[in-house]
């Protein structure tokens, strides 16, 4: 596993999993689905990912950081979980978002 990814073990079935999200093909790196390994993507090429519980089409070839800025989010104020792994912030600029990835982007909100 690359050193810049936090190696959180999946904690097992959670309420969130029971609710049905997180079961996309990108959930575990070692499942057999094919990954796009081409370095340069065509500008209008789209990929499908699951983002905060919804399936979306996004441009291919974005890094996590580029995806966040395209969503008008400040990377320093959010936390990103990619395929059930929590990312360190210094990894955002390097990590590509790939077809079938499941992302959760969370932040702090008011709460008791």
């Amino acid at each position: 596993m690359p050193s810049w990814r936090r190696s959180d073990e999946p904690p097992g079935e959670s309420g969130a999993e029971r609710a049905g999200f997180g079961r996309g093909p990108g959930r575990r790196e070692t499942t057999g689905h094919s990954r796009d390994t081409t370095g340069g993507a065509l500008p209008d090429q789209k990929i499908r990912v699951r983002l905060n519980g919804k399936d979306r089409e996004i441009p291919a070839g974005l890094t996590v950081r580029e995806l966040l800025t395209s969503l008008e989010l400040r990377p320093e104020l959010v936390v990103v979980e990619l395929n059930r792994e929590i990312l360190g912030r210094d990894a955002y600029a390097d990590l590509p978002v790939r077809e079938g990835d499941t992302l959760e982007v969370v932040h702090f909100v008011g709460g008791g």
Binding site: R6, D8, P11, G12, E13, S14, G15, A16, L51, N52, G53, K54, L71, E72, L73, L77, V78, V79, E81, I86, L87, G88, R89, E104, V105, V106, H107, F108, V109, G110, G111, G112
Partner: protein, 339 residues
């Protein structure tokens, strides 16, 4: 855990003040050793905590009076014990015994003003998905400077230990601190805690280095199990979250306080100022509230009331209340009456 701790203080008498808030002699991660402070008494403005994000002061053993040019200069043990407002948890000190939640406010501006009026230092925040359909959403952190407040992430909304652990890890990844208010709810209608799941989650999170403050009910045994699991504070509810019913079981939260070595902070169910005062009169180390202020007619005014209530309750506790009795005892002399 020794038999000593289980059996001590089983009488109904209140504890003498000097026992109630005893502190560890030396914190685990003191940025300043006593030797450093010894040379700093003449220097002003140089004594600062290691990280700006954790404004809680670290307690030291130094008896030097440190010149406090900044409000973040470390405090001595003597100062901590003499100031009724200072709350110490896991070797870290906080300016106020009142902890506020940040939810349910009608707007961020009133939230920020209420929190300031309350004098709170620790504020809780929850972890949720960013709403991607609302661009330029102003998050709670725009209004709460992490330099002024200690952000305590919670696992609100979690119903299993696994969920709570997942949310805790996400909260820690936000990078503010290693502290966590652990909540694992067992029932949707009452929002009462699932104490079994809370204990399971606590053990896992303590092992991962979190400083866990655990929301629980008024059951003594659960409180002791959570302390055994390594929680740095126990947080029994006064009554259900958002109910405003006040302290419904003072007897058992008193017993929890008598039997736990870590701080005991009432969390949930406070409705008005007297509830907070009553909680503190039981000897609690602090009170956490959210709805009592957020849902008040004038949250800023209620926040100020709560500030006074928590202080008043703490002072009354430290003063040692009179014994209640069921017969009258005159307050004025019985001799010297006229014929």
């Amino acid at each position: 855990m020794t038999a000593d701790r289980r059996d001590r203080r089983t009488t109904l008498e209140e504890d003498p003040p000097e026992e109630v808030h005893s502190l560890p002699a030396v914190p685990e991660e003191a940025p300043r050793q006593p030797a450093e402070l010894a040379g700093a008494s003449g220097a002003s403005g140089e004594v600062l905590p290691a990280t700006v994000e954790s404004p809680g002061h670290d307690v030291t053993e130094s008896t030097e009076v440190v010149v406090e040019e900044t409000r973040r200069a470390p405090l001595t043990v003597a100062e901590v014990e003499s100031d009724p407002d200072i709350l110490a948890i896991a070797g870290q000190t906080f300016r106020s015994r009142l902890i506020l939640g940040t939810g349910k406010y009608s707007g961020n501006d009133v939230m920020a003003r209420a929190i300031r009026a309350s004098g709170a230092h620790i504020v809780t925040v929850a972890v949720r998905r960013v709403d991607l359909d609302r661009t330029r959403e102003e998050g709670v952190l725009y209004h709460l400077d992490p330099g002024d407040f200690f952000l305590l992430a919670n696992t609100a909304g979690c119903f299993t230990a696994d969920e709570a652990v997942r949310y805790a890890r996400l909260a820690r990844a936000a990078g503010f601190n290693e502290w966590l208010k652990l909540e694992v709810i067992g029932d949707e209608r009452t929002l009462l805690p699932d104490t079994q799941a809370t204990i399971t989650a606590a053990k896992e999170l303590v092992a991962e280095g979190f400083k866990v403050m655990a929301y629980t009910n008024d059951d003594l045994v659960s409180a002791l199990r959570l302390e055994d699991a390594g929680c740095v504070a126990i947080m029994p509810l006064a009554s259900p979250i958002g109910s405003g019913l006040g302290v419904v079981n003072p007897f058992f939260i008193r017993e929890i306080k008598r039997r736990c070595d870590v701080p005991v902070i009432v969390d949930a169910g406070v409705g008005t100022a007297s509830d907070a005062c009553i909680a503190m009169e039981q000897g609690m180390d602090g009170v956490l509230m959210n709805t009592a202020i957020a849902a008040a007619g004038d949250p800023v005014a209620m926040a100020e009331a709560m500030r006074h209530a928590v202080r008043a309750g703490r002072l009354a506790f430290l003063a040692g209340r009179m014994e209640p009795r069921e017969i009258a005892v005159p307050s004025s002399p019985t001799r010297g009456m006229l014929d």
